[in-house]
Subunit: 382 residues, 2 copies
């Protein structure tokens, strides 16, 4: 009688966190590891955000709060959308929850078993992890101009992610409009994962949400982990049609009750205080990006382009003759450098590895040299 | 094509958080409301826990962490179980996540659609909220000695909750053993929700987990919200068989990545520092409980017993001739006192209302007088 649920057998989690656990295990054994595997930063959180969190703790903002999110935070988020996208959602269109929980909640609130989700390949692994355990059909697109080809009668939801993790691709205005028009034409929901929207280095962020202002079908995912170096706060949000947001709130309330109010105060500080640090932070990231691209292009058999957005270099390692996993395993065990195999991001990611460049330049240089030294032993095979 | 998922239509959330939102709305309109509806406390969190959180923030513990929980926190939890129950789980048997997420994860990891969960009525609403949206069968028991009668061939999981929310019932050692033996006899999983285990005022906490030490079928749910006045931290944990904990970790990793490390440090402080405050806090709660019971018994048509555990009085209001909802609505709108209808906790809760007594005695007296004044207008009908 006693056995695990069938859906539990299909759980895969997040490969970057499994790599994190493996790296921390090696570190505990005394190994020095240069860590490029996970999407957080060595730069540390901005001081005014830490102080806002501490102030809220001192003020006793430590009790249960509104499940949908503090009205003051939702209001600050609405103002932020107005400022960055030119339209203002209502507070009822917003729910505050971790960004990964948004992916899970959107998919579970709008897609039935047997129906399908269209998603990028390579793409963020949680999209696939959720459709997989819930038992949904998956449809993939590579380049954004192939998105429409992936849509079928079974499609209920499209996912786009600009800037993209892991490739750094950024939608042009025409592409963002085309994406919205496809969703409109097929009358499906559209999840626009904009978690890296503040981190566009060339050009600007274009959101497909501007066309329906999240009233009809578009759901924006955003959060504080990446643009504000707040990965450890686990604070994100969704903006969408009121009936979808209501259901997502009920799901979040069931599983989590609410987010800590002192954590939500950190979000208010991020959106309203010291906006000068954002550009400064982006400049630091841009410098780190350029250094990492240069270093990697010196590794025999490795080639990479300069990503337009996000915080990752997605390096082509096919020239080494290794698979993505072989490359990542060798990088970790021999060079002491943690990178993620591109195959973690879907079949199209085979032949690539992902490295997070939100790191101190010195660390990037050390890691780059270690990789160069190790992979010079085999040399480029093509 | 575009419509919400079927399961989303079945979401009900947590009635206490919906009441919280309603109360905060009234407060924003300038109404004075005496709040007994939600299970947190006016006493405030212990200072050393706030300080530990702030220290971790200052130390930069603000990045991603192990999805299963910091090993140092899991180790402190294992020591705590050893101290309170006489056996020590391994760190692999523990996953750190919010307590409501534990309920959701246990149910989804061990029960398939079409199978059934046995749960208390009256009982904590999240049990039913989860089985309902997942599409599982529900089987209820009133008194604990009727638990075996609820079990059928379809049963996959039993839920017990001692001390019980909302009734305050505490399992005797014999009852805890009988519960374990029923789970063993029918070879089903057993979720022992022990979130109020530190708050037993008469007798002691008895866990059915001592019989298999969470190796075979028992999963303990516990957390910091209640025993340590840390509701706003959203920190809890599960202890169970390694194969179940692994799946729960993957599910949590998919949805939340990890809990903030600075929040986990607060849990370590709660378990290892200033243990003297626990007894002190319990004594304050005991005094508040006794005052609330006395006050309520003076309200015409209301009768209540002294609960042995947890932080709620579950008052019989049948003598007023009102339904639970009518009583709660009238208490809020006319007396300015927020209570929860017992019917929120299941059909057996009809005729009762739940009040949280983790409040300052002055507030309890004011609330009690307001209720007495209002319900004296109708008087006891039976």
């Amino acid at each position: 009688m006693k056995s695990l649920a069938e859906s539990a057998q299909r759980l895969t989690g997040q490969p970057m966190f499994q790599m994190l656990a493996r790296v921390q295990e090696l570190q505990k054994q005394g190994r020095q590891i240069i860590r490029f595997e996970i999407g957080d930063t060595t730069f540390g959180a901005h001081k005014h955000i830490v102080e806002a969190t501490k102030r809220a703790l001192d003020e006793g903002q430590t009790l249960y709060a509104n499940s949908q999110g503090l009205i003051s935070l939702r209001s600050a988020i609405a103002d932020h959308v107005k400022e960055t996208q030119g339209w203002r959602p209502s507070e009822e269109q917003i729910v505050v929850m971790p960004a990964n929980a948004v992916i899970d909640a959107v998919i579970r609130c709008v897609v039935n078993p047997g129906e399908a989700v269209v998603m990028p390949d390579p793409g963020f692994p949680t999209y696939r992890a959720v459709t997989n355990y819930v038992g949904l059909r998956e449809q993939f697109y590579g380049q954004i101009d192939k998105l429409a080809d992936a849509v079928t009668e079974e499609t209920r939801l499209l996912i786009v992610n600009s800037p993209n993790n892991p490739t750094g691709m950024v939608l042009s205005e025409e592409e963002a409009r085309a994406v919205y028009e496809i969703a409109d034409k097929y009358d499906v929901y559209l999840l626009s994962d904009e978690i890296y929207s503040r981190l566009v280095y060339e050009g600007r962020h274009n959101s497909p949400a501007v066309y329906d202002r999240c009233r009809e079908r578009t759901i924006i995912l955003n959060g504080f982990s990446k643009g504000y170096a707040m990965s450890g706060w686990r604070l994100g949000y969704a903006i969408g049609p009121v009936e979808v947001i209501k259901k997502m709130t009920l799901l979040f309330e069931t599983m989590f009750s609410c987010l800590p109010p002192f954590i939500q105060q950190a979000g208010i500080a991020a959106l309203t205080e010291r906006q000068d640090v954002i550009e400064e932070y982006k400049e630091r990231l841009r410098r780190s990006r350029d250094i990492m691209v240069d270093m990697l292009n010196e590794v025999p058999g490795v080639a990479c382009e300069v990503p337009a957005g996000a915080i990752y270099v997605f390096a082509d390692i096919k020239g080494t003759g290794l698979t993505a996993r072989e490359f990542a395993d060798r990088a970790l065990s021999k060079a002491g450098v943690a990178v993620l195999p591109g195959s973690n991001f879907g079949p199209n990611g085979e032949g690539y590895v992902r490295l997070c460049f939100a790191r101190d330049p010195k660390l990037i240089k050390r890691g780059g040299l270690a990789l160069k030294r190790e992979f010079s032993k085999i040399g480029a095979v093509v």
